[in-house]
């Protein structure tokens, strides 16, 4: 029952991705790709102090990649960088362990569906890899300017 429901959520995000596109000008930017399949994704973030004022992703990828980026986009709007980092960690731990934190953040249960197909977890991870890269740039701004 809930499996179908979450699949519907994923399909909805795939067909109508939220926060898609680019933020201009952006304070943080990361372009990542999946070398195994060629999928590409760019995340741009505009900050308001320590808060994410706006984050958008431009994904050229499969349904899982696009849906995960969309769910992530919803989850991090208006959050602090620190909170976003925690969400990313939650995503990774849940994907690795198969267990949801209690209570689970809204974005996570639909993404758990993807664990049934191990080869697709990396598709879901692409957006979160971009987020981690942006967070890294924020933490080490000098490194970014290299």
């Amino acid at each position: 029952m809930s499996g179908t429901l979450y699949r519907d959520v994923l399909m909805d995000h795939m067909k109508h991705p939220r926060f898609s596109g680019k933020v201009e000008p952006a304070d943080l930017r990361a372009a990542v790709n999946n070398p195994l399949c060629g999928d590409e994704l760019e995340l741009t973030i505009a900050l308001d102090g320590p808060l994410i004022r706006e984050a958008r992703t431009l994904a050229r990828g499969c349904s899982v990649c696009v849906a995960s980026a969309s769910l992530m986009g919803e989850a991090i709007q208006g959050r602090s960088l620190e909170e976003s980092s925690r969400l990313s960690q939650m995503f990774r731990e849940a994907m690795a362990s198969g267990t949801l934190p209690d209570p689970p953040p809204e974005f996570l249960p639909p993404l758990m569906q993807i664990r049934q197909h191990k080869s697709r977890v990396k598709c879901a991870a692409l957006a979160w890899n971009a987020l981690d890269e942006c967070l890294h740039h924020a933490a080490f701004p000098d490194e970014e300017k290299r």
Binding site: M11, K15, L36, C37, G38, D39, E40, R60, G61, C62, S63, V64, C65, H117, R120, C123
Partner: protein, 408 residues
């Protein structure tokens, strides 16, 4: 003559498997083929009866293992119509074979501003090794473009050959487009310009006649696992003059003649290029695989795959939203078809097909330069083997309707 599919299928235990409640339709043969009982049993037999390290033992088992390994080499030489078994070097597969040619032959010869000629349709395994040695030596790469029809532009090939590259490295059959390249014509052109030719035969072996003497190629690389044999074994055929020019690439046991503290002298080819304990059981398995394909007949296998390709092309061309890549005629293409389905990412197509037990590959198929040229990030690829059936092709077409439904 066609292949008696039912009898062939009975030789492949894995085809008994059900996937998600459906019979397995394995349509990823361009990636790797399934293994017949004869190959599985050759492995078991070798491990059970003859396993030992080769060449350095004087005991019975080692002699048996050495014989089996060298018999496999002779079998490959015979299969390719190579003049001498010593011109066949065993490797881990096509990739290692091409790396061997790149490191042992090209690397010591390349000078700054020398050129290597590739094509836009090469698999990464016939592109990246050349990039690596070219970068190190300051050499340049040129690419023969493809025409929109999916065949090589032979006019540009002529022009690029005039730049006198040190080598032309070209695939026999594109792993994405299925294009069968006109090797005799290409090799004759290259040789007219005194350019040696390496043929990547990964997609051709076992489904297309390969005769290195008739082709006149300088190098030919293939993998065992794409010809119903084991993984971890492949070969590089080298023409005699090129073989004499090759320098050792990996040092170690088996490849030496005499070793002192300061320097060593080398064994004769092929041992010179096979440092360390080789994949003996895998070579035995490859021998059995070549027996298997010759028992059913390369021409028959080729015809069988061609019939399936004709059927699939005919069905897919009618499918809404399908874009087909590669030559439209089966005269110029082998048994694989890459396509895109409008509005659905290839991964998603492959996932839904998997739910019906159909195994196809989705992605860039290790040919990113080609996908750039085709202006698509990825494609879905179905590729046929000796055991595939019309029914599997039709099932795939029906499953595509489900894909459209899900992603409508």
């Amino acid at each position: 003559m066609s292949v008696p599919t039912e009898a062939v299928r009975a030789e492949f235990p894995i085809l008994q498997r059900a996937i998600h409640g459906h019979p397995l339709a394995y349509l990823d043969n361009a990636s790797t083929t399934q293994k017949p009982k004869a190959v599985i049993e050759a492995f078991t037999e070798f491990w059970s009866r003859s396993n030992a390290n080769i060449h350095r033992g004087v005991y019975q088992l080692s002699e048996e293992a050495s014989d089996a390994y060298e018999q496999a080499r002779s079998r490959v030489a015979c299969f390719l119509n190579a003049p001498e078994a010593s011109q066949v070097i065993f490797t881990r597969g096509t990739t290692e074979s091409i790396n061997l040619a790149a490191y042992a032959w090209a690397r010591p010869r390349l000078q700054p501003d020398d050129r290597i000629l590739l094509t836009e349709m090469e698999h990464h395994s016939n592109q990246v090794p050349w990039q690596v040695v070219a970068q190190e030596r300051g050499a340049q790469l040129d690419y023969v473009p493809i025409l929109d029809s999916g065949v090589l532009d032979l006019e540009v090939l002529q022009t690029l050959l005039c730049r006198r590259p040190k080598l032309l490295a070209v695939t026999a059959i594109s792993n994405v487009l299925g294009t069968i390249n006109p090797l005799p014509e290409i090799i004759a052109l290259a040789h007219k310009h005194e350019v040696p030719v390496l043929v990547d035969a990964a997609q051709a072996v076992g489904r297309f006649p390969l005769d290195v003497r008739a082709l006149g190629c300088d190098f030919l690389a293939f993998s065992g696992h794409k010809v119903y044999g084991p993984t971890g074994i492949g070969a590089l055929y080298v023409q005699a003059d090129r073989l004499a020019e090759m320098q050792p690439w990996q040092g170690g046991g088996g490849m030496i003649s005499r070793v002192s503290r300061e320097r060593s002298t080398w064994a004769e080819a092929p041992a010179k290029f096979e440092a360390g304990t080789p994949p003996v059981a895998e070579a035995v398995g490859l021998n059995a695989a070549l027996d298997f394909v010759e028992r059913w007949g390369i021409a028959e296998i080729q015809q069988h795959e061609r019939d399936l390709t004709d059927l699939a092309l005919g069905l897919l061309v009618e499918e809404p939203g399908v874009t087909l890549f590669g030559p439209s005629s089966t005269d110029q293409r082998s048994g694989l078809i890459s396509f895109a389905l409008e509005g659905v990412h290839p991964h998603d197509v492959a996932q839904i097909l998997d739910e019906s037990g159909i195994a196809v590959r989705a992605g860039h198929h290790c040919a990113q330069v080609l996908h750039e040229r085709l202006q698509v990030p990825a494609t879905v690829r179905m590729s046929f083997g000796i055991y595939n059936t019309d029914e599997e092709v039709r099932r795939t077409q029906q499953a595509l309707a489900q894909v459209r439904e899900v992603f409508a």
